[in-house]
Structure formats: C-alpha cells, structure tokens
Amino acid sequence: MKKYILVAALIILALAVLLPFASSDPDGLENLISTSGTQQHESFWNGLMADYSVAIGNPYFSTLLAGIFGTMVVLLATFVLGTVVAPKEKSENVKKI
C-alpha cells in the first residue's frame, strides 16, 4: 500500500510541475464548435468547479487545487468501485473459467 501512496504523490507532483505548461487554448472539439458556426449553449450544469478552477485569484493554484481535489475524488471513487465490483476472494476454479 505504501508504494501506491508514493505513486499517488508522484502523480500529484507531476500535475504541479506540468500544469504551467498546459495550454488554455480551446481543444479540438471546442474549436470545432466555434469554427462550425454552431450556436453555443450555456450548460445547465456547471459542476462545482467549472473549468477546473476554484475561486481564488492565482490561476495556477486555482487549477492545481481543483486538480488535487479531482485526483483525490477519482482515487476514492475508483478504489470503492474496485472493491465493490470485484469479490473479496476468488476460488481458483472460478478464476479459470
């Protein structure tokens, strides 16, 4: 388990290091929406932290905090998913089917 926590910490560190290099220009899909002349919509659901930012001034820390929050939420949600979906023990013959 220690190893997993170390890797999780490394993932967050990678986020902190790479974030300044991330581009905020529109992605392929957003670009297509604006260049195709499609009428743009306000979404009815804006999430809790739209565009991966929390309400603080500094854009780097705003996105970093949102990212760390998201990483934690994903870790928790997928860990629960993994434990719920897969049974505790597998007998060998079940495994071989």
Partner: protein, 219 residues
C-alpha cells in the same frame, strides 16, 4: 474531446446511452467474474493518472489543443473490462465536479472514450496472438493507442455531425476530429507505450491486462 450538453440531438443521446449501458453492465459482470478485490489499488492509481493527464492540454497544429486520453493505458494494465468501468468513473467525476463533458451527453462521452477506448485491448491481443515477444507487445500497444484515439475521434465526429443542433454535418466534423486526433494519437501512443513497457519491467505483477494477453489469466 468531452462533448458538452446542448450539441447532440435527443436521438443521438438516446442511441449512445442505449449502446453504452449494455457494455457497462457486461463489463461489470466480466470484472466481477474474473477479478478479485486486489485490483482496487491499481485501478484507483491508474484512474487518477488518467484524470491528471487529461488535465494537461497541449497545443497541436492550427491553434488547437488536445489532451491524452489514457484509456489504452488502462486497458493494457487492467484488462478491457475494468478499464471500461474506471474510465467511465473518471468521466463521471469530470462531468459532475468540473462540468467537463455534459450530463445528457455522458452516454456519448462514455461510449467514445471508455467503451471504444477499452476495446483497443483486443487490438493488442490480436497483434500479439502468436508471440510473447516484448517488442511485438510494445509495437502492438503503440498501434492500439493510436487506433483508439482515431476511433474515439471518429465516433465523436459522427455523433456531432448527425446532430442537427450542430452546424456543418459529418463532412465537417469527422475530418476535423479525426485529423486532430491522428496527431494526438501519436503522442498518446508514445506515452502509453513508454509507461506500459516501464511498468512491465518494474512491476509486471500488477498488470492483469498483460496476464490476460499472455494467457496466464482468462477472461
């Protein structure tokens, strides 16, 4: 790559949900049958990695940016069915907390990224069928990642193009999405192959996907 709400027609929304749900149920059943509980930490860590890489947009030609999808990585490490479930969970968290991808469009986004992407495992399986050579494995992962990115882009293009709410039609959306992701797919392929081959060297025991490919575990 995450389709927001408001751009897909109700028919497309209905079709994509109708295709996605049976896949997810099947994936759930398969995972339940094949895996034990011990998959959970690996599943959580790889999903967190995918969440983080999807936050990093990088520019490609023409003022457009993209992010790595990461789903072939999940599929090769975890196997296709848990990859489908965990990618869906990542997309759900993105849509719910960050409004990245719509809620009505969630069926389409899960289909494009989680379902289609995870099935790229079978490309690797097909290409490595007769061999356990590591080189062949690495090149198969490379090809599968690239093809997965293309197919994801193709599906997204079709869904948008066939929606009347979206101006332009498939003749605009498909070439546009596919050309962007043909380039993104190369970056995706390099990163996926590098991570997968390093993990194979360092920690092959956690790679259920590899065991499934090598036949020491069966789906």
């Amino acid at each position: 790559m995450h389709i927001p709400d408001g751009y897909l027609d109700p028919t497309i929304i209905a079709i994509t949900w109708a295709v996605t749900i049976p896949f997810l149920i099947f994936a759930w059943k398969k995972t339940k049958k094949t895996y034990s509980h011990s998959i959970a930490p690996t599943l959580a860590i790889t999903s967190a990695l995918v969440f983080v890489v999807q936050m990093i947009n990088f520019p490609i030609a023409g003022g457009t940016t993209v992010h790595v999808l990461g789903v072939t990585l999940l599929a090769v490490i975890l196997g296709p069915f848990p990859a489908m479930l965990s990618m869906t969970m990542v997309l759900l968290m993105q849509a719910f907390f960050f409004a990245d991808g719509g809620l009505l469009a969630f069926g389409a986004n899960a289909l494009n990224m989680a379902v289609i992407g995870s099935l790229s495992f079978f490309i690797v399986k097909l290409l490595t069928r007769k061999t356990s050579s590591n080189k062949q494995f690495a090149s198969s992962v490379f090809i599968a990642s690239w093809v997965a990115a293309l197919l994801t882009a193709l599906a997204t293009g079709l869904e948008l193009g066939f929606s009347k709410a979206f101006a332009g039609g498939v003749m605009l959306t498909v070439p546009s999405m596919v050309s962007v992701y043909a380039i993104e797919g190369l970056v995706e392929a390099v990163i996926t192959t590098a991570l997968v081959t390093s993990l194979q060297r360092l920690q092959p025991a956690v790679m259920m996907g590899l065991k499934l490919l090598r036949g020491s575990e069966k789906l």
